[in-house]
Symmetry: C2
Subunit: 155 residues, 2 copies
DNA sequence: TTGCGTGCAAAGGTTTTGCATGGCA
DNA sequence: TGCCATGCAAAACCTTTGCACGCAA
């Protein structure tokens, strides 16, 4: 489908290197494409999609699919997808900020799910969605949310 | 945009009732549309999208955005979006099955994230990805996963 | 009667695919 | 040299939007 990854090409190296160099960035395929251009490496959109697909499949890159109509975001996930063993990611649905959380409670959760529920959580693919403190306060300042649709400023 | 929800119409009632009646189903807008047809209620696709949008906004329905190219899935979330307070969803990345997990560890996690990390997890939007027991065993039996892409049966 | 809700069709955007060319091994 | 990867363009896809008609209140 997306190739086998047997060859090492200029484009793939550039994509991986960019993601590695910007581990905190979470960008869409198109944004990555543009970023590469800005770095002087021209890569076709299809190639970016294909490479990203492979990297996600290999666990090297994480993919978040936010709301439909927004496009998926990608982010470096660590060498073999093993580095983020007890490393959850929280994404604020309001401001889009990505938080990296590491602590014992998560180890516990993992163990619990594995033992009690026979489910192996894949940290490379999992993102917890919610609201961060600053945004929660901002939202609290605008209490009405009943029959009115709040349009949290697009973008 | 999606209407105000002031009117009670045949279509909206049917949509909500179907979701209520199938609380464990997680279906796309189109699948819901088809299901309604099968139930003898004909509802236009746009209407389904619009109604779903409103319901998600009101917290009555949960929306998962799985992988791109698959379409978002919707599921009933309980009366006021409050019933699934400590209800995580695990989705197996191999077979696509959605598991509903409710237990104290998750309450604990929520509390922890809220208190220690000032992050309010939104259960309606969060799905943990990983591998379920049957699939993990199946994968163990086929160790190589390099150049082969496993296509989990659609639906 | 008023105005919202509906449905069709068309537009919008993202992601995927086909095919010929170029590059890695 | 053989095969894979690339890139362009077109297709496929889901979702949103515009507009005229029907229905709820």
């Amino acid at each position: 489908m997306s190739g086998t990854g047997s060859y090492r090409t200029r484009q793939r190296a550039a994509i991986l290197q960019y993601l590695k160099t910007h581990p905190h960035a979470h960008l869409t395929a198109e944004e990555l494409c543009d970023a590469l251009h800005a770095h002087g490496v021209s890569v076709g959109k299809s190639t970016v999609y294909r490479a990203l697909d492979m990297l996600v499949d290999a666990g090297v890159v994480r993919r978040f699919t936010a709301s439909p109509g927004e496009g998926a975001c990608y982010q470096y996930a660590g060498g073999d997808g093993m580095q983020c063993h007890a490393h959850f990611h929280l994404k604020c649905v309001v401001c889009g900020t990505l938080y990296h959380i590491e602590c014992d409670h998560l180890d516990e959760l993992t163990a619990h799910l594995g033992i009690q529920h026979s489910f192996t959580v894949d940290y490379a693919k999992t993102v917890l969605y919610g609201t961060c403190d600053p945004c929660r306060r901002a939202l609290a300042a605008v209490p009405k949310k009943d029959s009115q649709k709040i349009e949290p400023d697009p973008t």
